[in-house]
Symmetry: none
Subunit: 206 residues, 4 copies
C-alpha cells in the first residue's frame, strides 16, 4: 500500500541517481525520524539531523530544499505505515470484531516502533496543509478505509451515518493509542482489549 500524493509543497530538490546518494537520502530520513522522536520538534535542527545521519549538512540540503521538506518526508513515510496497518477493506457482512482487533493490533505495532514520533508528527510539528488538512489525499484514503469497514459491518446503514461513524471510530482509536503512548502503556493488553470492546459494541449496535 503506497500513498501517492501529487502536489507537494516542497518537492525533493534533486532525485538521487547513484546508489551512493540513494543511501544518503535514506540515512537522512531515518535520522530525521529518530531526531524527531527523541528530541521533539523543538530539537529537530537540520544540523543535528545531518550529524545523526553521519552526513554533512550540505548533503542534506542537496536532497531536501528546506527543513519542512524533511519533515514532510518523515511524515509521509509514517502515514504510509499507518495506511498499511489498516490493510484491505473487509468484505460486506464482516462482523466488527474480525477486523477491529487486527486494526488495533497493527496500529499499536506501528506506534510502538517510534512511539513519540507519531505524537510529534501530529501534535508538535507544524501541520502541513498539503498532508493534514481535512481534504488531503491522505485523509481521504485513510477515512476511505474506515468508511468501507463501517459500511461492511452493517450494509443497511445510511451513507451520512457511515461517514460520521468512520470519523468517530478513527479519532477514538487515535485518541486512545495516542494517550497510551503518552502513558507508556502501548503494550498493555487491557488497553487493547477495552478499545476493541468499545469499538465492537459501537459498530455492531444498530
Amino acid at each position: 500500500v503506497s500513498t501517492r500524493i501529487v502536489s507537494t509543497p516542497s518537492a525533493p530538490r534533486k532525485t538521487p541517481r547513484q546508489a551512493r546518494s540513494r543511501a544518503t537520502v535514506a540515512a537522512v530520513i531515518e535520522a530525521a525520524a529518530r531526531v524527531l522522536a527523541t528530541a521533539g520538534w523543538a530539537g529537530f535542527t537540520t544540523n543535528r539531523v545531518a550529524e545523526t545521519a553521519g552526513v554533512s549538512i550540505g548533503s542534506l540540503y542537496q536532497y531536501f530544499p528546506d527543513k519542512l521538506a524533511l519533515l514532510d518526508a518523515v511524515r509521509r513515510r509514517h502515514l504510509d505505515d499507518c495506511l498499511a496497518a489498516l490493510g484491505e477493506p473487509p468484505p460486506a457482512g464482516t462482523p466488527a470484531a474480525v477486523f477491529i482487533a487486527a486494526w488495533v493490533d497493527n496500529l499499536i505495532a506501528v506506534h510502538q516502533r517510534h512511539p513519540d514520533l507519531h505524537r510529534v508528527l501530529l501534535d508538535e510539528a507544524p501541520a502541513d496543509a498539503g498532508l493534514l488538512d481535512p481534504h488531503s489525499a491522505f485523509e481521504a484514503q485513510y477515512l476511505g478505509r474506515y468508511r468501507a469497514a463501517v459500511a461492511a459491518v452493517r450494509p443497511s446503514r445510511p451513507a451520512a451515518e457511515v461517514d460520521i461513524v468512520a470519523v468517530v471510530v478513527s479519532d477514538a482509536i487515535d485518541g486512545v493509542i495516542h494517550g497510551a503512548a503518552r502513558r507508556r502503556a502501548l503494550s498493555d493488553p487491557a488497553v487493547h482489549a477495552q478499545l476493541v470492546r468499545m469499538l465492537t459494541l459501537y459498530l455492531d449496535s444498530p
Copy 2:
C-alpha cells in the same frame, strides 16, 4: 474549581504580594494567551508578550523565570476550564447517559470558546512534562473524575477495570473532540450524538 499543583518544573519566581504586581502578572498571562492564540507557538516570543501586555521585558522576567513558565501559566488556566467542564462526580448508580451528554456538551463548549488557543496549547507548544506526564497532579485529578463516573455507572466493576475504562473513555473523548476541532466540525450535532452513543454503549455494557 481550581487546580492546585505543587511540583511545577518552573515555579513563579516571586509571588506578587501587592495589587499592582498581581495586575501585572494577570496582564502578562492574558497577553501570553492572546499571543499564543493569534500567532501560534512559533510567534510566541517573550518580547512580544511583554509588549502586548504593555510591560517591559524586564518586568516579565521578574515574575516568570523563563518562557516555559509563561506557557505553563496559560496552560494551567486552560486546563482548569477543562476540569470545570467535568463538574462534580455523579452519585453511584447514575446511568452513563445522564452525565456523558453533559460532559461532551461542556468539553465541546470549552474548545469552541478559544479553538485556536486550545489547538496551540495541545498541538504546537512543547508538551510540558510537569503537566502532561501520566503522574502529574492535573492528570490525576482529571482521571479521578472519570474514574468516579465510571465507578458510579456500575459499582460492581473491579477497580483495575475502572482505571483502564476511565483512561479509554477520557482518551476517546479527547481524540474525537480533537479531530472534530481539526475538521472544523465541533458544532456538528452528529459528532456529539455519535460520541455520546459510543460511550454510553461502552459504559453501560457489562
Copy 3:
C-alpha cells in the same frame, strides 16, 4: 545641508532613546563605513561590522533590520557629504571658473576621506532603488545643484540643454575623480587643474 528622504525601503527598527544606544548606533555606522572601505562589499558581513564596532551582533540588529539598512545608513551619510560639497547654488552670471574649482576641491576632499568607500558604495554594493534610481530624491537634489550652476553661468541657455549639460558635467566629474581614486592620484594637482580646465571650457562656451 541635509538630505531628507521619506520612503526608505527598510526603516530603522527602533529609535534609540537613551544616550547609550545612540552611541551604539553611531559606532555601528562608523564601523560599517570602515569595513566597506577596507574590505569591499564582499567583505561586508554583519558580524564583522559588529565586531569592528565593539558591539554584539544582537545590538546591531536591534537598530538595523537587515544588512541593507546598514548599507543604506552609510550611503546616506556619504551622499549628504557629497551634497554639502556642492554648497549653495551660485548667483546668476557667475563665471564657471568661480565655483567649478571649489566643487572639484570639495569633492576631492570628500573622496580623500574614504577613497574606497565611495567606489564600493557606487560600484560594488547593490544599488538601492530608493536612493540611486534616476528619480530618487537624492539624485534630484544633486542634479538640481548642477542645473542651477549651469543655468547661472549662461542664463540664456535653453532649459533642455541645461538639463543635459548638468548631467554630463556631473558624470564627468564623477568619472574623473573615480578614476583618480583608483589610480591613487586624488591629490595630484594636475588632475585637479585639467578637470577644472575641461569643465570651464565646456561651460563657458556657447
Copy 4:
C-alpha cells in the same frame, strides 16, 4: 585586436589542446557571460554556470581554477571589445572632432550591445586587481590609445600633459557613458552630442 596579458592573478589551470576542450571552455565562458548578464553577480554561481553550459561542475573546474578566473575570462573578452572600439590611433594632426565622435559612437554601441553585462562587470562584480589596477597591461594599452590620440591632436603638447589629459578624457568618457547607462539614456543623441562637444573643446584648446 586581442589583449595579451601576462601576469594574471589566476591563470587557466590547463590549456585546452584538443578541439573538444576548446569548445568546452568557450561554452563555459559564454554561459558565464549569460548568467552574469541575467542574474547579476549575486546569482553568478559556479554550479549555475556549469549547468547553463551543459557541463558538469567538475569539468568547469578543470579549466578554471576558481570563480574569479571565470569572471576574469568574461571580463577580458568584454574589455577586448572596448579596446577594439577605439580603433587604430589617428595620424598626427588629426583634429579632435574627427575621432572623438567615432570613439563615443563605438563605445556607446559596445555598451548597448550587452548593457547588463557591462554594468555587472563594472559595478557589481569585485574589481579584479590584476585587470583594473593602474599598472595592468590592459590599462596600459587602453591609455596608450588615448595618449596617441591626444598627442596627435596637438603634437607640441608636453609628454606629462599628454599623460594627464589622456587620463582625464578616458575617465570623463567612462563616467558619462556609465551614468547614461544608469539613467537608461544611452541612445539619447543629446548625450552623445554634449560629450563630443565637451571633449572636442577640451582637446582642441591650447
